[in-house]
Structures are given as C-alpha cells and as structure tokens.
Amino acid sequence: MVFNSPTLSYSLLSPILIILAGALIGVLIEAFVGKAVRPIAQLSVALGSLVLALIQVIRIRDFTSTAAAIGSVVIDGPGILFQGAILVIAIISIFLIADQDNFTSSPAALPGSDEERQAAQSGTVLTEIYPLTLFAVSGMLLFPIASDLITLFVALEVLSLPLYLMAGLSRHRRLASQEAALKYFLLGAFSSAFFLFGSAYLYGYAGTVSFAGIHAAVIGGTGNDVILLLGIAFVAIGLLFKVGAVPFHAWSPDVYQGSPTPITGFMAAATKVAAFGAMLRLFYTVLAEAQWQWRPFFMVIAIITMIFGSLVAISQRDVKRMLAYSSIAHAGFLLTGVIALNKAGLEASIYYLFAYGVATVGAFGIVTLVRDSSGEVSDLNRWAGLGKRSPWVASAFAFFLLAFAGIPLTSGFIGKFAIFSAAYESGATAVVIVGVLSSAIAAFFYIRVIVLMFFTDATEDGTSVVIPSILTRLTIFISLAITVALGVFPSPLLDFIKPLAIFIR
C-alpha cells in the first residue's frame, strides 16, 4: 500500500506555529530559567512571538489556500484579518497582563494561608500566565480558519482551556476568581458538549466533517433537514455561548467580574474575535444556502441579546459587570453582522470586532488602575469624582465608553453604522431598528458612568488611581490611539479590509 505523507504549507501556518513555539519555549523557561529573569524572559518571548506572528500574518495576507493543512484549515482574507486582529489585541493586552500584581503569586496556595503570604512577600511572580496566554492565542488563531469540524472543536478547546485556568488566577478576591474559573469551566464544557453533539449531526447529515463537504451537502439538499437543523442549532449554541449571546450569556458577567481584569479584557476582546470569526465562516460559507433555516433564529437571538444586554447593564453597580453586559449587547450588534450575510456585513463585522476589541482592552486596562488598599475597586459608586482626581484617566475611560455607545467620531460609531447598514441592506429592518433603539438604551448607562466620574463629588474612601506602570500605560495609550484614529479616519482600515474580506470555500 502507498502511504502519501500529508503536505503542510508551513509558511501559511506559520503564525500559529510561531505562537505555539513561543508557548512551548515559555514552558521550558518556567522549568529551567531562574526566578529573577523569568518575568522579563517570558514577556519578551511572548511579545516576540506575538509580533513575529503578526508580521507573518501581514506577509501572507495575499495568499489564499484551502490545502494549507490537507484541507483542515483554509487560509483566506477574512482568516488573515481575524488572525491579525487577534494578534494585535493580544499584543496590546500582553502589556496589561505583564503588570504582575494582578495575579496571585501562588495559585495553588489556599486563599489567606501563610503559604500565600510568604509567596507574596518573597516576590515570586506568576509567569505561567504567558505560556497560557500564548496557548489560548494559538487556539484563537486556529478557530476562525478551521475548515473542518474536528479542527474547529480542537481549536475551541485549545482556546478555552487556558482561559478557564487564567480566570482563576486573580490576586485579590481569590475565592471569587476561583468561582469564576469553576463557572467558566463547567459551563464551557457544557456548551462544548452541545457543540460536539451538533457537529456529530452535521457529520451525520453530510457524511463528512469537512466544511466543503457539508457545504456541498447543504446545496445538494438531499439529506434529512431535521438532522441538519439540529446540527446547526447545537453547533450554533456552542459558538453563541462563546460570544455570550442570550440565553447562553449567563457565564460572562460572573466570569468577567471574577477574573483578573487583564484576563477579562483579553478574553472579552480576543475570544469574541475568534468566535465570531468562526461563526462568520461557518454561516457565510458552509451554511449560507441554509439561511432560511438559521437566519430567523439568529434574528430572534440578536434582538433578545441586544435588548437584554442594554437593559440589564443599566442597573449594574459594578464596572466590570457593566462592561460584561455591554459586551453582551455588543454581541447582539455583531450578530446583526452575521445575519446580514453579505459582503458589507462581513467587512462591517471585521471592522466592528477589531474596533470593539481594542476599545475593550483599553477600558479594562483603565479598570485595573482604580484601586484602594485591598486592590481594584470595581464598585461604580466609588468611581464618583474620578474626573476630578485624575482627569486624564477619567477622560480616556469616558472616551472608550463613548466609543461603546457609538457616538460619532469614535470607532464604535463607524462600526455600528457599517454593521447596521449591512443588515438593513439584507432586509433585516426589524433587527436594525431594535439595534438602534437598544443603542439608545445603552447610551443611558455609559453616560451614567460619565456622570458619575465627572459630575458627582468624590466620596473620600481611599479610592485612588495608581500611577499606571509603563506597560499599562502602553496598553491604554495604544488602544486609545487606535480608537480615535478609527473614529476619525477609518478609511485606511476599511480599505485594507475591503479587498481581503472574501471567504473562499
């Protein structure tokens, strides 16, 4: 018998490979490098591999191939864009993550135990976080370019598992952090079970796990529709869970609140990009012809998500939870992009994802700065009068909020406009109207925070803004710059996206 070895085009896979390599090196560093130099070594490895990967992504941007890894991944414009976005976000957030005092120095130690205290005093820092991040990133990079169900599932798990752990590593309020990890993990596993079950049905329907095959089957329409529908539904549940769409959102507020803030930022931004990337590919290419089966469901879910997210966010008292709900609302807005199911929709979604992701990292970056003796202060009422104490931080945060609210001259506005017009073009008028109205509601709570920061007098309770370390400063500054730029001169990015945003099958 002849055994023909699989052909891998390494250059096209290089971003993922680089990241994985970086992750492994990170693990080795943990094993062999002394405590003292570890942090800087890890940071440089992580940063280095991320930047390298980004460069690679940019270099291969014009290649398209379905055979990069014997048909299990597809390299095309959107894939490149998603990878690029993920990497940029990762780079921004790595600085934030590098700000070590967000993480417990000894995850294994009992909260409040001597062991923990010693670890803290001895100044040991948690450097495993870097490899974990890189593993997650590698999964995220794979997720949106996967072109068969196995790869998709594996990627899903690869990006999720590290995040489950990272969620539990907070230095302050460790119990809450561990709880977040537990919830994230259990629910995540639960949802991936759904995902897997769904893919089983898709396989059953098409007789193959490759997207191309499924697509062909959908066009042929010979198979059993019920099986197809169940498959779509359960796979969708898995993905909708990741993006936090109602009613699969329940994990996100708790996890966002419990996790270490840098991780929350990274997770909120990057996971969304990856998950939506996968979702867009799946529904724009594989299941496009089955739109009559899934679009109605998506419309309903989008509408519920937008309204629910906006309404509940109003009544939040905790800034991280508020941002969590706002991210739910944004998931709803992004779903309209999926519903649009046209090129404009794809471009808009990509732009929106990038703009939103960057702004999110920046916003959470600022959250890490507001502290008192016992760590971060995420209680909104204690943010009162922030504008007086440190106008610059407050203004930056306000600007991010305005971007979330989609006020003109911020990136958020262009994104909203693009994505809504795409959806309208596809005839989803109802969704657009609900979207517009719920962004009116959403404005309500963003502005509430601004009022709190600028127009309410501070309560003297030791809440203060720490002088950001150079790293955090970098994070905030870069994301602020990008947000402003995308708001005022979005054309470069839009023009960059336009030619690339074509899925190949």
């Binding site: 537990l182 919830k183 259990l186 629910l187 639960f190 949802s191 759904f194 529709d225 019920v226 529908l229 169940l230 539904a233 359960f234 969708a236 549940i237 869970f241 009613p247 699969f248 329940a250 994990w251 507020p253 708790d254 089966q293 469901f297 629910f308 309404l311 509940v312 966010a313 109003i314 009544s315 939040q316 509601i441 309500f444």
Partner: protein, 630 residues
C-alpha cells in the same frame, strides 16, 4: 406730489427722544427744553407743509415720501413710505399742536419730578409714533405707529410704576391694546391674502373687485383694532385705569390723540367700510353702546380724572358712531375728534392744574368752591365744559350736533335708535359735566386745611388758555362753509347731505339736543346745588348706582370671562406639562431601569441555573425546529 419734509415730522421727536433716553441723567437740566423744542419744531414743519397743501388744488394736495423698501418678500412688498394728505394733516397739526402745548404745560407740572427728562423722552416717543401712525401709507406702516403709541402709552401710564397699581394699569392697557392689534394684524393678513397688497391706495383700488364677505371680515377686524385703541366697547376697560399716568399724559394720549386713532383707522379705511354695510352697522352699534356706556359711567365718578376719562370714552363713542355713518359721517367724526381734542385736552389740563393746587387730590368730593382760588383754571375749564356739552356757539355744539343729526337721518328704525341714543348721551354728558363743574368749582369748600389751593403758574395756564380758545372757536371755523367737509372730500367720498329723507330738519335737531342738555344740567343742579355734597361718597345708594360706580362691572366681567379661566388654564397646563408630558419622558427612563433590575434577577449566581438557562435555550430552539419542520 412728493415732499422730503414729511419724514422730519417723525424724525425730529424720535431723535430727541433717543437723545434724552441715551444721554441719561446728564440731560436732566435741558431735557424738557429739548423735548418741547422737538415737538414745537415738528409742529412748525407740519404747519409749513399745511401751507404748501393749501397752495395746491384739492386733488393734488396729497403728498408722499418713499423712504426705502422695508419688507420685500415674494409678492409681499411694503415700502417704508409716508403719505400726508388732507386727513393726516389734520392729525399732524392736532398732535404736534396740542402736543407742544402739553409739553409746555408739563415743564412746570413735572418740575418736581426727578425723572422729568424721561417723561419728556416718552412724550417725544409718543409724538413720533403717533405721527407715524397717521402718516404711514400702508396698514403695515400704520401698524408700527399703532403699537408704537401703545408702547409710549404703556410707558407713560406706568411712569410712576413703583406703585404696583399703576404698573398693573399700564400692563392692562398694553394687553387690551394687543387684543386690538390682533384684529389689525388679521385685517392685514386677510387684505394681503385677498388683494395682494397692504397699502391704502392699493386696497382702495382692489376693494371694488373684492367680495363683500372679505371686506366685511377686514372691516370687523379693523373695528376690533379700533375698539382696542379707542377704548370702545367691549375693550374699554383699560382707559379708566390709564388715568394712573401723569395728567398731561391723560390729556395728550388718553383724550386728545391716541385714543382717537380708532376713528382715524375707520375713516382711513372708508373704502372698506363703505363697501361692507354689515361692518359699518357693527361700527355704529359699538359707537352707540360706548357713548352711552361712557356717559353712564361718568355720572358716578368722584375721581375727576376718571370722570373725564369716562367722558372721553363716551365722546369717542360719538366719533365712532359718526364714522360708522359714513360716507356722510366721516367728516363730522373727524370734526368732533378735533374739537374734542381741544376741549377735552383743555379740561384735563384744568384738572391737572386743580390737582396741582390741591396737592394731587383727585376726589372731587374733597374739592368745592375752587372758583375763587384758581380763576383762570375755572374759566378755561368752564369754556371747555360749555364746549363739550354742546352749547352754541362753542365747538362741541357744531360737531356733536352734526353727528346727532346724521344719526337721526341714518334712516328707518336704525336712525331713530341711534339718534335717540345720541340725544340721550347728550343729556347724560350735560349731567356729568355739570356735576364735575359744580363739585369742583362751586359750592362750599370741602377740603381739609393742609391743602392750600392756588392758581397754577403761567407755563401751565397758558396752554390751558390756548386750548380754551380752540374749544370756543374751532367748531365755528370748521363748519363755516363746511370747510372741513370739503377739505376732507378727496379722502372720504363726498358727503352730500341726506341720501335718506331727512327725519327732522336740522334746526329741530339742534333744539332737541339743547333741550336734552338743559334737562341734564338741571338734574345735576338739583342734585348737587340744592343738596349739600357729602365729602365722602354716600353708601346708602341704590344697587344701580353701585353697579355704575363699578364701571358697570366691566372689570368683574373681564375677570370672570378671561382672567380667572385663563389663570386656571395656565395652572392646569403647567401641572400637565410637569406630570403628564415630562412624566411620560421620565417614565420611559424609569421603565428601562426597572425592567433592567428585574431581568438582573435571572443572574442568580448558581451554575446550575445558568446551565438550566442554556438547556432551556437549546430546548426552545429544538422546539422551534420541530415546529418549522412539521
């Protein structure tokens, strides 16, 4: 014929007023002089133009002056341009003439007032506005003057506005005038909509082709305007309170000039009223009602100025009546307007002089026997008195007699009613004026000792004297060969007498009128000479008297019909705005918040409920699939 001088009539007093207002206290020394000078020179210009007019044949006497194109939008073109014709010159001379006299009078009358300068500024402002009113060549220009005089009157009534009642009086006057202005502006709108123009001659040309209905509508609107400005029924209520202003103001604005603007408006609009009988009928009705109303109110007033004010109202009623009886009546209305200008102004100044001597006491019951103390005032006032009650050969006799006659000859039942109303009015006039004379100048002194009545200085009595002469002679002059009638013919359609068969010959009418006057006088004599006059108004009087004392309940009526409902409406709307409209807005916000915190409760914090939620979601979707595939 054009003339570039006309504008100066207005410009001079306007400029002086501006100077006086802007210079402020610095001008206190010479302010009154400048004001008087301005008014006088305006009179001079008027007189000169008058002579120019006399030089012309009747048809070419009208002069115009176009200043600039004021409003020019699409087909709506209004020039700021002035028209001086036979009608307006009468007013110009009256306004500037009487005006100047009153300026002179005020120099001394206001000499103790710190704000005398401001007073003169207002007076000049008034003169300017009033002149614009009578000189504007279109209804819109007239409108500017119309409200201008309203403003001046507001300022002057409220001249001592530190007294709340005075301030209120001023506000009342302005608001009721605005009701009139409503009529005027609607009239202009209708005119423009139907005839595409608002200028006098434009409308005059278009009127024949215009439907009677339209003209009637315009006419009624103009009548409302006239009623507002001339204190005619039902908008008469402000005039009495307007006496809050300094007496010269009452003389100039609320007797001689401004209040007669309504008569001017109707006469000026003769081409409309002649073609709109219904409107005309309303005019005479309003006139008749008002002349009686004013006269009746006058009989019960103890405040000398208010008595005179009531009489003014009634006399203007006569004029309106006359004007309503056009084409014949216009000239007579104007004639009565002019003569009234003399004698009523004279009497007001007289009243002022009395008050001056009685340290501003206005209650006639506190006067009495002043004849000896202020003879000149008495004589001038007396002449005015004779004129107003219409004793030949004094001015009032001619003018009023004409109106009564015309009214009687108006034909049919209408004529009889109007005529008798006019005659009865004459009797009442005689009564209340006699009452004023008796209470003020004759009988026994009723004032207390700190009052030291004395004759006023020359600056005050001289104008009175001049006006007295006017009230003696003017009537005769105007009627000699129907001078005024002929003078006005080019403006108002020629008033050939009696298009109806004369009801009574003129001489009989005069006789009737005189008898009525005699009756009035004798009743007054019986009541106030035979019996001693109480120095406080007796309380034990008939209900009728009480009602009359309250101006026939005019204020009560206004309050009941307009003010109180208005106030309650305002209150209701305010609370509606607060509770309902804004409430709705706030309600939406509250709803969002509420539903938010409700939905929040789904986030229980229990993993199992979360997974249950996911499961439910999945189940729902499966259900949905089942539904659509069935």
């Amino acid at each position: 014929m054009t003339s570039n001088l006309i504008v100066y009539l207005i410009a001079i007093p306007l400029f002086s007023s501006a100077v006086l207002l802007l210079t402020g206290r610095k001008a206190n020394k010479w302010g009154h002089l400048l004001g008087t000078l301005a008014s006088a020179s305006s009179f001079g210009v008027g007189a000169y133009l008058f002579t120019q007019m006399l030089a012309q044949p009747a048809e070419e006497r009208a002069m115009t002056q176009k200043l600039f194109s004021w409003i020019n939008v699409g087909s709506f073109n209004v020039d700021a341009s002035l028209l001086l014709d036979q009608l307006s010159i009468c007013f110009v001379l009256l306004i500037t003439g009487v005006g100047t006299l009153i300026h002179i009078y005020s120099i001394s009358y206001m000499s103790h007032d710190l704000d005398r300068r401001r007073f003169f500024a207002y007076l000049n402002l008034f003169i300017a506005a009033m002149l614009l009113l009578v000189l504007g060549n279109s209804y819109l220009n007239l409108y500017v003057g119309w409200e201008g005089v309203g403003l001046a009157s507001y300022l002057l009534i409220g001249f001592w506005n530190q007294k709340p009642t005075y301030a209120t009086a001023a506000k009342k006057a302005f608001v009721m005038n605005r009701v009139g202005d409503l009529g005027l502006s609607l009239a202009i709108m209708i005119a423009f909509a139907s005839m595409g123009t608002v200028s006098f001659d434009g409308i005059k040309e278009a009127a024949p082709q215009t439907s009677t209905a339209t003209l009637t509508a315009i006419g009624i609107m103009l009548l409302i305007a006239a009623a507002g400005k001339s204190a005619q029924f039902p908008l008469q209520a402000w005039l009495g309170d307007a006496m809050a202003g300094p007496t010269p103001v009452s003389a100039l604005i609320h007797a001689a000039t401004m209040v007669t603007a309504g008569v001017y408006l109707i006469t000026r609009s003769n081409f409309i009223f002649d073609a709109a009988p219904t409107a005309q009928l309303l005019v005479v009705i309003v006139g008749a009602i008002t002349l009686l109303f004013g006269a009746v109110v006058g009989t019960a007033k103890d405040d000398i100025k208010k008595a005179l004010a009531a009489s003014t109202m009634s006399q203007i009623g006569y004029m309106i009546l006359g004007a309503g009886l056009g084409p014949v009546g216009y000239a007579f209305a104007i004639m009565h307007l002019l003569t009234h200008g003399f004698f009523k102004a004279g009497m007001f100044l007289g009243a002022g002089s009395v008050m001056h001597g009685m340290n501003d006491e206005v209650n006639m019951r506190k006067y009495g026997a002043l004849r000896k103390f202020m003879p000149i005032t008495f004589i001038t006032f007396g002449l005015g008195y004779l004129a107003i009650i219409g004793v030949p050969p004094f001015a009032g006799f001619y003018s009023k007699d004409m109106i009564i006659e015309t009214a009687l000859n108006a034909g049919g039942i209408k004529g009889i009613l109007l005529g008798s109303a006019a005659l009865f009015g004459a009797a009442l006039t005689a009564f209340y004026m006699t009452r004023v004379i008796i209470l003020t100048f004759t009988g026994t002194k009723r004032w207390d000792d700190e009052a030291h009545p004395h004759e006023s200085p020359i600056l005050m009595w001289l104008p009175m004297a001049v006006l007295a002469i006017g009230s003696v002679a003017s009537g005769y002059l105007f009627t000699r060969g129907d001078a005024l009638v002929h003078w006005l013919e080019p403006i108002v359609a020629p008033g050939e007498h009696g298009e109806h068969a004369e009801l009574l010959p003129p001489i009989v009418v005069s006789a009737l009128a005189l008898t009525m006057v005699l009756i009035g006088i004798s009743i007054a004599v019986m009541m106030y000479v035979r019996r001693p006059v109480a120095d406080v108004a007796p309380e034990d009087v008939s209900a009728l008297t009480r009602i009359v004392r309250q101006d026939l309940l005019q204020d009560a009526a206004n309050e009941a019909i307009f003010m109180r409902p208005g106030q309650s409406l305002t209150k209701t709307l305010v609370s509606i705005d607060e509770k309902v409209i804004d409430g709705a807005v706030r309600g939406v916000g509250a709803m969002a918040l509420g539903s938010g915190s409700e939905l929040r409760k789904t986030q229980t914090g229990y993993v199992r409920s979360y997974s249950a939620l996911i499961l439910v979601g999945a189940a729902a979707i499966v259900l949905g699939i089942w539904v659509i595939t069935q």
